[in-house]
Amino acid sequence: MISVDNAYIVQYLKSHFEKEILNIEEPYGFLTIEVKKEGLIALLVAIKNDSVLQMNFLTDLCGVHYPESPNRELAVVYHLHSFINNVRLRLKVFIPAADPQIPSATTVFDTANWMERETFDFYGILFLGHPNLKRILNVDDMDYHPLLKQYRLEDGTRTDKVDSFFGR
């Protein structure tokens, strides 16, 4: 019986997807791997179907916006969980805001459907191959993607709540 832990996953991915991996971290013990968007779906399929890893459960999928980092403005974060081995894995894909496209994970996990719709709704990320990519929480005729950092939460003319008060 092979014990599957973070080191095992790293070794597995390094041997099978060496070219797709850009960065490996372990913040708070949670293995986080940045991968290229081209290899994402193949990687998801492989770790889901691998007889040892069995990353069978997509826990969560969400977007993040980093307006300050050029060509890496948008991130899509996948949280995966292997019920058999009880290990979790976080995958990150960075994409430029100018071309916010990424292949849809709905082909691998049915549950990605609404999660991707939500991410599209909030960040305008286009999931290629998604069966029904439209807004989900906001109204259909909304003309912007509200979680992008350039859209202020409050009235932009207020001076009592500028960013410097929020530690940045």
């Binding site: 996990f109 049915d110 459907n113 939500e118 109204v139």
Partner: protein, 401 residues
């Protein structure tokens, strides 16, 4: 209309499919969500959900709120079990800040969280009863839920949206009245609950109505990201409390009930059994409640008591710094999940060291499993669809965030 729809329409008695809007404010849906159904007589041919009617942009709001002010937002996710949401959030922050809690706090949290789980399951199961035509059980179980809310009131002053506890522990210790009420509840509730169980569990009408109603297989449930009682009803024994124990759940002896068919009856029965398991956990936590402080020693994050603030310089400084968000937090990202009333409730927090989260994402179990609804009700009758929805325990607050 697509060709297959036309074909079905031709075969139906009236020669056409009926479009039926179930919701957004239909009394039988127990919340504000809409389903556009294509009906062949009384049979559902296809369905499409529209959600977002009470979307309040929690994730955007959270990016503009100091960490302690996010707790009231979490109240309003699954408002049937707010304390679990509150404490899940506190634990996320404690993970980020690497705060070690006294054992007593963890046990106190377990007691509150399990009470919340009982309240959550009581509402859900009582409502399943109502939707099958049995109102009596509902009226009885709501009285029991009131007793749980009375206990919350003793701990935090609020009943429904509790905002209970703080980062680092509780704002006050359990008082003697709370313990008294808890003991009374532990003594009296099982008998009352047994009456409710006797009314429904082996009731022929109820069983005929719920067995094979809205089933889902274990594989499909996993594909759709089901967690919590709905997944366990399908036969997968995944429970965050056991898989990734938090708040000392590893100290307690309890079992995970599972079903086999993933239908409404199994979902009902899993929740029924979980209520009993929760009672067991509460009893153990209560009997072994460790001595100690009701909060961790983290003055940078835990608000000092008011009288200290008025008379002690140090406390005043900490109070000011906490309220103004002047304390540094580590840069980093954490994911923490707890077993909510409906399943794995996750918090994905990215901190850039600022006063507020850079990004906070809630993994809301309702939102994720509700997408399976059309598949579960396809081909069933409208009345079964209503029942399926109430047995999935879709809570609009958690669904829409």
């Amino acid at each position: 209309m697509s060709q297959s729809l036309e074909k079905i329409a031709k075969e139906s008695i009236s020669g056409e499919l009926t479009t039926l809007n179930l919701g957004p404010t239909h009394p039988a849906t127990h919340g504000i969500f809409q389903n556009v159904l294509q009906m062949d007589g009384e049979k559902i041919h296809s369905a499409e959900q529209t959600i977002g009617y009470i979307h309040r942009a929690f994730e955007k709001l959270a990016e503009r709120r100091p960490f302690n002010q996010i707790t009231p937002i979490t109240d309003r996710l699954n408002y049937c079990s707010s304390p679990i949401n509150n404490m899940g959030w506190h634990m996320t922050m404690e993970k980020l800040l690497r705060i070690e809690l006294p054992k007593r706090v963890e046990y106190m949290r377990v007691i509150i969280m399990e009470l919340a789980r009982i309240a959550d399951h009581l509402v859900c199961n009582a409502v399943i009863g109502v939707d099958t035509g049995a109102l009596t059980g509902f009226t009885y179980m709501f009285q029991e839920r009131e007793h749980i809310y009375d206990m919350f009131e003793e701990v935090c002053g609020a009943r429904l949206t509790t905002n209970i506890g703080r980062i680092g522990g509780f704002e006050r210790d359990f008082n003697p009245i709370f313990h008294q009420k808890l003991q009374k509840f532990l003594k009296e509730f099982p008998a009352r609950f047994q009456e409710f169980a006797d009314l429904l569990e082996r009731n022929r009408i109820f069983m005929d109505r719920t067995i094979k109603c809205g089933p889902i297989s274990a594989q499909r449930a996993l594909d759709y990201g089901f967690t919590g009682p709905n997944l366990r009803a399908a036969g997968v024994d995944y429970d965050v409390r056991v898989m990734n124990p938090y708040s000392s759940y590893q100290d307690f002896d309890f079992t995970i009930p599972v079903g086999t068919n993933g239908d409404t009856y199994d979902r009902f029965m899993v929740r029924q059994q979980e209520i009993l398991e929760s009672l067991k956990i509460i009893e153990q936590a209560c009997n072994n409640l460790p001595e100690g402080d009701y909060k961790a020693d983290v003055p940078e994050f835990y608000l000092p008591p008011k009288d200290k603030v008025y008379h002690n310089m140090e406390a005043l400084i900490y109070h000011f710094k906490i309220v103004m968000g002047e304390t540094n937090v580590p840069v980093g990202e954490v994911y923490h999940c707890v077993e909510g009333g409906n399943g794995e409730l996750g918090y994905y927090l990215i901190s850039d060291g600022g006063r507020t989260p850079y990004r906070l994402h809630f993994r809301r179990p309702c939102f994720i499993y509700y997408q399976a609804y059309p598949e579960m009700i396809k081909g069933s009758l409208l009345s079964d669809a209503i029942l399926t929805m109430s047995s999935m325990n879709v809570i609009a607050g958690e669904l829409d965030a």
